[in-house]
């Protein structure tokens, strides 16, 4: 336990001390929120779907958590060769504890980051329809964070160089985001896109967030939670397996 705690604490300290990084990682979500939220607003309104800012804000919160989670996992790659991770890998503690401390730390950081983006959304004019559902929104934020830090850990454990990072960004993280329904409604999609979105784990996270924050859901909260938990279990299994196999 002490191992998990001290490594979690380390992630917290690092996050709090990297103020520049906190601000920098707000840039992208804000761009989506402001450019798309206000830019596509009139078109969205005219097609009878209400406010696009209201619609896209949960997606942007989800996106910031997704990116933060995956990055913390991929950070392993760097940490393994030039960082503290090496020190933890020769320590007389189970690898599983090392991984859990780091992953929980990463997930916590991602949730904090998501909360900051949520506050930015409020400032931009976003209004949750049901304040009493906020705990459910935070539950989904945590679920998304744990799911993707697990995936990130699995990826970070197998990558060998920095080129792989670009590959993962372009062929995994961006598609996960764009095909998740974070930016568009899932109703009446072309068949092929509907299938792809339903295969994207992020879809269920965004759907759950939207259910809690603006009361609109495509699949229903129960389905969202069930799917996310199942996928998280798979990702955790993969993460644990690959992390335990790291050799330097």
């Amino acid at each position: 336990m002490s191992t998990i705690y001290i490594l979690w604490l380390r992630e917290m300290k690092r996050y709090v001390r990297s103020r520049a990084q906190i601000v920098a990682s707000l840039g992208q979500p804000m761009l989506y929120l402001l450019a798309l939220g206000f830019g596509l607003g009139p078109v969205f309104q005219r097609s009878g779907q209400g406010s696009y800012l209201q619609f896209v804000a949960p997606g942007v919160v989800g996106m910031s958590i997704l990116f933060m989670s995956i990055f913390s996992g991929i950070g392993l790659l760097w940490d393994r060769q030039f960082g503290f991770l090496k020190e933890t890998l020769v320590a007389p503690v189970p690898r599983l504890h090392v991984m859990m401390g780091k992953a929980l730390g990463g997930a916590t950081v991602a949730v904090i980051q998501g909360s900051i983006v949520f506050v930015v959304c409020l400032i931009a004019g976003f209004r949750p329809v049901n304040i009493s559902a906020l705990p459910i929104a935070f539950l989904f934020m945590a679920l998304i964070a744990v799911m993707f830090t697990s995936l990130g850990t699995a990826i970070g454990s197998v990558l060998v160089d920095m080129q792989g990072f670009q590959l993962v960004m372009n062929f995994l993280v961006m598609p996960i985001f764009f095909l998740s329904g974070a930016l568009f409604p899932l109703a009446n999609l072309p068949k092929a896109l509907a299938v792809v979105t339903s295969l994207d784990p992020m879809t269920y996270g965004v759907d759950g967030l939207r259910a809690a924050l603006i009361g609109i859901s495509h699949f229903g909260i129960a389905t969202d939670i069930a799917v996310i938990c199942a996928i998280t279990a798979v990702f955790m299994g993969l993460g644990t397996y690959f992390f335990s196999r790291i050799q330097l």
Partner: protein
């Protein structure tokens, strides 16, 4: 203290370490020398449970690091070739985490942290973030950290790489002092022959994954009729330059260097 028998490590077709055997006695300073790519770091990684040997036997104080991983890990402290400190944390926090990972009780941890940091002249800077440390200070901190859990063996993989002569001199003085006062067994690699000559009790020279000579610095010089250890080393390993295939770690090392200069 340490016995290695017929140790082999292959990566696919490539044999990094091919059948080496040696012994290190308790309280000895043992230097492991060799050109780039000779298999030094691979050997250290096997000795410290980071790599599994393809075949052969390792014994650290009677323990097999392949089978009794966690018990063996408590036995040694290690300073890696690449730094392994957390730059965002302070020196004290870095050592504290080490103490928790090695299950050093709190009271003992505080006491030993203070005495080690004082010994390595870092106590005044304990609350400074490590990224603001110089290369020599980082190395000293890594050694202090490696000693926190009172290891019986200290591994130093090219600890003086990139340090100025003052820092190098100071570092070896510390290491020798520790070896004499606390009987810590030291296993080191370095590219500086004068250092090995001055510090090591015994030396093994490895080339192409095989040990080509073993003995005290004096014996090695006599064996090759050389005046300095450097000459002996060149006689034994030839003077051709080794082109190590650059791997992913090397590419990242370059980026790391650029970054550390920018900061």
């Amino acid at each position: 203290m340490m016995r290695v028998e017929h140790l082999v490590k292959r990566f696919g077709e490539f044999t990094a370490v091919g059948d080496i055997s040696f012994e290190v006695a308790k309280g000895e300073i043992f230097a492991f020398l060799g050109p780039n790519g000779a298999g030094k770091t691979t050997t250290i990684k096997m000795l410290t449970t980071l790599l599994k040997p393809t075949s052969g036997r390792i014994e650290l104080d009677g323990l097999d690091p392949v089978k009794d991983q966690n018990k063996a890990r408590r036995l040694f402290g290690i300073v890696f070739q690449d730094p392994s400190l957390d730059g965002d944390l302070t020196a004290y926090e870095n050592i504290e985490i080490h103490g928790v990972l090695y299950h050093v009780p709190r009271a003992e941890r505080r006491e030993r942290t203070e005495s080690l940091m004082k010994l390595f002249e870092l106590w005044d800077r304990r609350d400074l973030q490590v990224k603001k440390f110089s290369g020599g200070m980082k190395r000293r901190l890594e050694i202090a950290r490696g000693l926190l859990h009172t290891p019986k063996i200290l591994f130093l993989d090219e600890p003086t790489l990139g340090l100025d002569p003052q820092s190098r001199n100071q570092l070896w003085t510390h290491v020798k002092h520790l070896n004499q006062t606390q009987r810590v067994t030291v296993f080191l690699t370095t590219h500086y022959m004068d250092e090995a000559d001055r510090v090591a009790h015994r030396i093994a020279i490895i080339d192409h994954g095989r040990i080509v000579a073993q003995g005290t610095p004096k014996e090695l010089k006599e064996q090759t009729n050389a005046e300095s250890l450097e000459q002996a080393f060149l006689t034994l390993t030839g003077s051709s330059i080794r082109d190590e295939g650059a791997d992913a770690a090397d590419a990242m090392r370059q980026i790391a260097k650029m970054w550390s200069q920018k900061r």
